[in-house]
């Protein structure tokens, strides 16, 4: 049995080696996708264009503005002369934010009173607006802390050591983009593997059905389950190589800490690949054309990504959808990836995820073997 599966595997690898496009695609596309997602899909906001109306013209107001610019988050592109300028530049979408410092800003600060600053955001891109607002609040808080410390230094020097918390509070803000990438990259690795396995199944299985070679295979002593394994083996190998390539990039290039157990990640990867292979083969054996298989794959991938917790937290989904996430293998693999990377977890903690993926694999493989038998009649 294994000899026949091996024969088929050798044949698949020969075919892949002959197909230059496949070779490039199998290595380059996953890496490209990882880079694109890691860079494009972080929650970092930079260089928000800003209109500024400074009616105070004080040293304090200038200092405040220079802090904004120095943070790298904002770029002052319009110096407004009156409030009308501000409205016009927001309306014409010239700037993403506008800031107004009223006369008396410095005076209020010196008196130790609240010194209001008015900020207007273009809410069309509400995500950017929200994050940019966070940055401004953080910069204001930083400045306020500085002032507080300075004043305290004057009035009661011995109390200042009690204050550093004010500054510490900024830390998570400044690392926010980095953290989001750390959180995102392991998830993207899982998503890429999912899509890759789902695409390869139809390519390898339906192609044989379309070209008629499947019939020639069926009349050999090859059993249906051996045929499925022979198809699954090369996809599995490719998936495994890719996941580890991407993990290596995450560690070497994106400097993600990997503190968990390698065997947990390996077990998770193997079981995840098995369960997605089950889906991929099920799609392929129940389709008669590649287009049909891809169309069904597409309708599977979108919810699989949405329900996996890659982007939307599962805990905040409606209960019915939460139930649906239990049949999504990516849901479990994401936990394995994130926890081995970021929390340093091992098999002792991750066994429920591994078990769930194992169960899905068995069910899906059996289903695809049945679908394969049925498809012949």
């Amino acid at each position: 049995m294994l000899r026949r599966v091996f024969r088929l595997l050798v044949k698949e690898l020969l075919q892949i080696r002959r197909d230059r496009f496949a070779l490039i695609g199998l290595c380059a596309f996953p890496i490209m996708e990882l880079l694109i997602y890691a860079y494009a899909a972080s929650f970092e906001v930079r260089n928000v264009t800003m209109a500024v109306l400074d009616r105070d013209h004080s040293q304090e107001s200038r200092e405040f503005l220079s802090h904004l610019v120095a943070s790298g988050r904002f770029k002052i592109t319009v110096i407004a002369r009156d409030p009308g300028d501000i409205v016009r530049s927001i309306d014409s979408s010239n700037v993403g934010a506008a800031l107004q410092i009223n006369a008396g800003f410095a005076e209020l600060l010196q008196k130790g009173r609240n010194a209001p600053v008015q900020v207007i955001f273009d809410g069309t891109d509400s995500n950017t607006a929200l994050i940019a607002r966070g940055y401004i609040e953080e910069i204001v808080a930083g400045l306020a802390g500085d002032r507080l410390r300075n004043r305290l230094n004057h009035l009661a020097p011995r109390l200042t050591p009690l204050l550093p918390e004010v500054r510490l509070a900024q830390r998570p803000w400044y690392n926010r983009d980095l953290r989001s990438r750390w959180f995102f990259v392991p998830g993207v690795i899982g998503a890429i593997a999912l899509v890759e396995v789902l695409c390869l199944g139809p390519v390898l299985v339906v192609r044989e059905r379309e070209s008629g070679t499947l019939e020639q295979l069926i009349v050999t002593p090859l059993r249906p389950i051996e045929m499925l394994l022979g198809k699954a083996a090369p996809i599995f190998l490719i998936g495994l190589i890719n996941v580890f390539l991407l993990v290596a990039i995450a560690i070497a290039w994106f400097r993600l800490p990997f503190s968990g157990s390698v065997s947990a990640l390996l077990a998770g990867t193997v079981l995840f690949l098995f369960s997605t292979l089950g889906i991929s083969l099920l799609l392929s054996t129940s389709s008669s054309t590649i287009q049909q298989a891809f169309a069904m794959g597409f309708f599977f991938v979108i919810p699989a990504l949405a329900l996996s917790g890659l982007i939307f937290p599962i805990a905040s989904m409606p209960v019915a959808l939460q139930w649906l996430t239990y049949v999504d293998p990516l849901r479990y693999f994401l936990v394995v990836l994130r926890d081995t990377f970021l929390k340093g977890s091992g098999i002792d903690l991750l066994w429920p995820q591994l078990f769930a993926m194992g169960l899905l694999s068995v069910v899906l493989f059996s289903a695809s073997a049945l679908a394969f038998r049925k498809s012949l009649d």
Binding site: L8, Q15, D377
Partner: protein, 320 residues
């Protein structure tokens, strides 16, 4: 389960075999015995159900009803036990285009359980009979149509099956290469291999020991080419060249003593009994104002057999 339950079991025994796709009956209650060592031609126009019948013989498709024994094994129940006894070449060319000839042979040889020296020797043999000696490293897609077909045949014979089933193995290749292909089939038959070969080329019928004619899913005639020619055609056959063949055919069917009329281009083949053909036919045609160019007695061909068996209106022109 064990192959070969005596001589009379035949190599392939088909009883009441039927395949329906929804309401459409592709193979309709076919009963057929293929004897050991014979070359049986399965003839029929496109859509007759030849491929569907063959798929059921090979265990690729489950019959709706009926049963099939190949080498004494019930195919429906033990499809996997039949594999080693059967070589199959499907209608579509079905080796891997992106593998070389030798890689294809090694793959299929390996799947049939060959290995080591035995595999090497069989691959050499298959390359030799396909006319590909020393060309084992050529990609299959770069081979000509005739060579590809022979390679597929060599591939099906790697494991020395006693039974060979070929589905239109010669379609789309030129007549010279077709003859070479048939010579190969007979070479195997001489070694005791039973072959069932489907074709829609009537001119290949004479390469077969016996013929099974299929039409619209049914087996309509079975016999040697000679038997079919003479037993099938009742009485004499004359060829009539005339104006308006369609109208003439309608009319002649009503003439007493005329069994059957088939249209072949602008001529009619008319089978008749116990009458002076020429004068009677000419007279009836000219009475209706149809000019008659010539009337001559001819030998029945398989086309006539076909026309007669299938009925002239449902008949499809064999593509050639």
């Amino acid at each position: 389960m064990t192959p070969g339950n005596g001589e009379d079991a035949g190599a392939i025994r088909v009883e009441g075999l039927t395949k329906r796709f929804r309401s459409f009956t592709a193979v309709d209650n076919v009963t057929l015995l293929v004897r050991r060592g014979e070359v049986l031609g399965l003839l029929g126009p496109n859509g007759a159900g030849k491929s569907t019948l063959i798929r059921m013989l090979c265990g690729i498709m489950r019959p709706t009803a009926g049963c099939v024994h190949v080498a004494g094994i019930n195919v429906v129940e033990h499809a996997e036990a039949v594999r080693q006894h059967l070589g199959y070449v499907s209608q579509k060319f079905s080796l891997y285009d992106d593998l070389t000839a030798a890689e294809n042979l090694r793959l299929f040889g390996g799947l049939y359980g060959l290995g080591g020296q035995a595999l090497v020797a069989r691959v050499q043999w298959a390359l030799a009979i396909s006319g590909l000696d020393g060309k084992g490293d050529v990609l299959t897609r770069d081979l000509g149509g005739g060579l590809r077909r022979r390679l597929a045949l060599g591939c099906a014979m790697l494991h020395r099956p006693p039974i060979l089933i070929l589905d239109e193995p010669t379609s789309g290749i030129d007549p010279m290469l077709r003859r070479q292909f048939w010579e190969l089939i007979h070479q195997f038959a001489a070694e005791g291999v039973t072959a069932l070969v489907s074709t829609h080329y009537l001119d290949e019928a004479d390469y077969c020991n016996r013929l099974a004619l299929m039409s619209a899913g049914r087996l309509v005639a079975l016999g040697t080419p000679h038997e079919l020619r003479y037993a099938a055609a009742r009485g004499d056959l004359v060829r009539v060249e005339c104006d308006a063949p369609v109208r003439a055919a309608e009319m002649l069917k009503a003439v007493p003593g005329v069994h059957d009329v088939a249209i072949f281009g602008n001529a009619l083949h008319v089978s008749i009994t116990n009458m002076e053909p020429e004068a009677a036919l000419r007279a009836s045609l000219e009475a209706r104002g149809i000019a008659c160019m010539s009337i001559e007695a001819i030998e029945p061909s398989l086309e006539d057999v076909f026309a007669q068996r299938l009925g002239s209106d449902s008949r499809e022109e064999p593509a050639d």
